[in-house]
């Protein structure tokens, strides 16, 4: 009897896979559509830029999606971690500038200074995450309205503090020498730091997937996203797991902020909120709680933003909201969301 049900299940699955394959081909194919009106060289440049942007948005969105999926907490302070990461990185770069590790630095020193920036952002973001979770977010479990109000409030305060510590004006970020400029491969201009952004994003994705799929901690987090109660009754303190995820998510957002500041070569206090909008779109497209979903969503948003910004600049953000609306119409839970 059990074998029969199993085979029936498999057949049902097989039928779905053909349909799935079609959807996959269509969803990959659509990204080549801009080739109809953009020449291939420009298309290649835009694609690299889009992938880099997507990878950086993914850094912010991955934490956001896990925080929402695991504890049903909507964290609007995520943008504040992002902008704090950017400013911490900016200060570290300014410091390293004094010892010649930025302008005129060799390859090793340039990589070293970027790594130092990222580590500093990681620590600052992580600490801010722990404090915020233990002091405020913990009090609002179960109430979305309270979460939105308190994390929005925290975000405003954190950004105001940032303006006091640094300045309310735009600042120019000096890119470490080895990451300045670009390579030209067959007429295609590839900005060096975009490649670095793609590499960092890919490393973070690989790291998250490794932890989520191969470790006990990953099993606990995935199980918690699905059913907190069962995880608790199996002997795990889900709140402690959640504080850890919140801390890691905040640290990743701060790393995203640092990368973004070097990517854009400038920073300003409102960049956190701007990026949060992208991250929220990505989390909704990908499905709440799914890291893979938010990765796919981030790449989609990054690419679409660049193609549309080149063709019709004023529509760039609008196009992403359109994508989100269409995906929600087809799959209300997002690409990889729970049914």
């Amino acid at each position: 009897m059990t074998t029969q049900t199993a085979t029936a299940g498999l057949q049902e699955h097989g039928g779905m896979d053909t349909k799935k394959l079609g959807v996959w081909i269509a969803s990959v194919g659509i990204w080549f559509l801009p080739l109809l009106w953009i020449d291939p060289t420009t298309y290649a440049v835009l694609t690299v830029a889009g992938l880099a942007m997507g990878m950086l948005i993914f850094l912010t969105a991955s934490g956001l999606t896990l925080i929402f999926g695991l504890m049903d907490v909507l964290n609007l302070a995520h943008g504040a971690f992002f902008v704090w990461g950017a400013y911490v990185g900016f200060s570290i770069l300014n410091g390293l500038q004094q010892i010649g590790w930025v302008e005129g630095a060799g390859a090793a020193q340039s990589i070293g200074s970027v790594v130092l920036c990222l580590l500093a952002a990681l620590v600052v973001g992580g600490l801010m995450g722990i404090v915020l979770e233990k002091m405020l977010v913990r009090l609002t479990y179960g109430s979305h309205l309270k979460q939105i109000l308190i994390t929005m409030g925290a975000s405003l305060i954190l950004v105001e503090i940032l303006k006091v510590v640094w300045s309310p004006n735009d600042e120019v970020v000096t890119v470490p020498q080895a990451f300045q400029g670009s390579w030209i491969v067959m007429d295609v201009i590839i900005t060096k730091f975009r490649v670095a952004a793609i590499v960092v994003g890919a490393l973070v994705l690989a790291g998250i997937q490794l932890v989520m799929m191969r470790t006990k901690l990953g099993i606990i987090v995935r199980a918690g996203v699905e059913n907190k109660e069962v995880v608790e009754t199996l002997g795990y303190n889900i709140r402690r797991v959640f504080t850890g995820v919140f801390c890691a998510g905040a640290a990743l957002a701060a790393v995203g902020g640092t990368m973004w500041s070097i990517f854009k070569e400038q920073i300003h206090p409102a960049m956190g909120e701007e990026n949060l909008i992208f991250a929220l779109i990505v989390v909704i497209i990908g499905g709440m709680g799914s890291v893979t979903g938010s990765f796919l969503g981030a790449i989609m948003v990054g690419l679409a933003y660049n193609y549309v910004a080149y063709t019709l600049p004023p529509l760039a953000l609008g196009a992403n909201i359109m994508i989100m609306a269409v995906i929600l119409l087809i799959r209300p839970t997002g690409l990889m969301g729970k049914e």
């Binding site: 699905e226 069962v230 608790e232």
Partner: protein, 236 residues
């Protein structure tokens, strides 16, 4: 007489504003499988959930192995050696069978893995579907996974909530066989509506009605007591 492994004294539990348990008194002896019987809404599941700390007791005492546990969080109760099998085949659908077991193992040592051998003998399907997602299992297999998962640790006490719900009679027979094997190793407390299953597993029984303990005794006596069955369980 031996100390009870678990006892509840005058336990009251509210779920939101509803007064579900209105003074439950129970005591469970080590090694004796006990069934909680009663009509729908009598408070059987809530009793198990109160022991686990999922719906904490508003007043009264829950004593586990001589220690008061009514203020403990679910994960703390679990660490005291209590396994819990929730109702509705609550396995983790997006995790593989293997991951469901690894999640349940409080320590992944040799002893735990040797218990897995016993589990594979009791539930051969678990080995067969080891790498499949738990979501593709049949209802019966999910229930077996939920029970086997709780059995993977060397728990003193296993609380099982309505395992027969929604399962075919032949699957229920297999479950009875497995739980009867498990009860030789650990004290089983079973909530069950299915009297056939309850009478084939239980040694002792309690009957709950409207959130109170109304009757207790030996299962062998209850099987022949038509009046009592009629009154509280609606079985002719």
């Amino acid at each position: 007489m031996a100390e009870p492994i678990l006892s509840l004294a005058k336990v009251h539990t509210y779920i939101e504003q509803h007064h579900i348990l209105q003074g439950v008194d129970l005591s469970f002896m080590p090694g004796r499988a006990t069934v909680l019987l009663g009509r729908n809404g009598a408070g059987k599941s809530t009793t198990l959930r109160t022991v686990m700390g999922l719906t904490p007791a508003a007043s009264g005492e829950v004593i586990l192995k001589g220690q008061a546990v009514q203020a403990m969080k679910p994960y703390e109760v679990a660490k005291q050696g209590v396994g819990f099998v929730p109702e509705d085949q609550a396995v983790l659908y997006t995790l593989s069978v293997e991951e469901n077991f690894r999640l349940a193992m409080l320590s992944e040592n040799e002893k735990t893995w040797s218990r897995m051998e016993t589990i594979f003998k009791l539930f051969p399907d678990m080995k067969k579907f080891w790498r499949s997602k738990a979501g593709v299992l049949s209802g019966g297999q999910k229930q077996m996974l939920a029970i086997a998962r709780a059995f993977v640790n060397d728990h003193d006490l296993l609380l099982i909530d309505e395992p027969s719900k929604g399962l075919a009679p032949i699957v229920v027979d297999h479950l009875i066989e497995s739980i009867n094997h498990i009860k030789n190793h650990t004290t089983v407390i079973l909530v069950e509506q299915n009297f056939y299953m309850a009478s084939h597993i239980g040694v002792d029984y309690f009957i709950l009605d409207d959130g109170r303990t109304v009757h207790q005794g030996l299962m062998d006596d209850l099987v022949h007591d038509e009046g009592l069955k009629q009154k509280y369980l609606g079985i002719a």
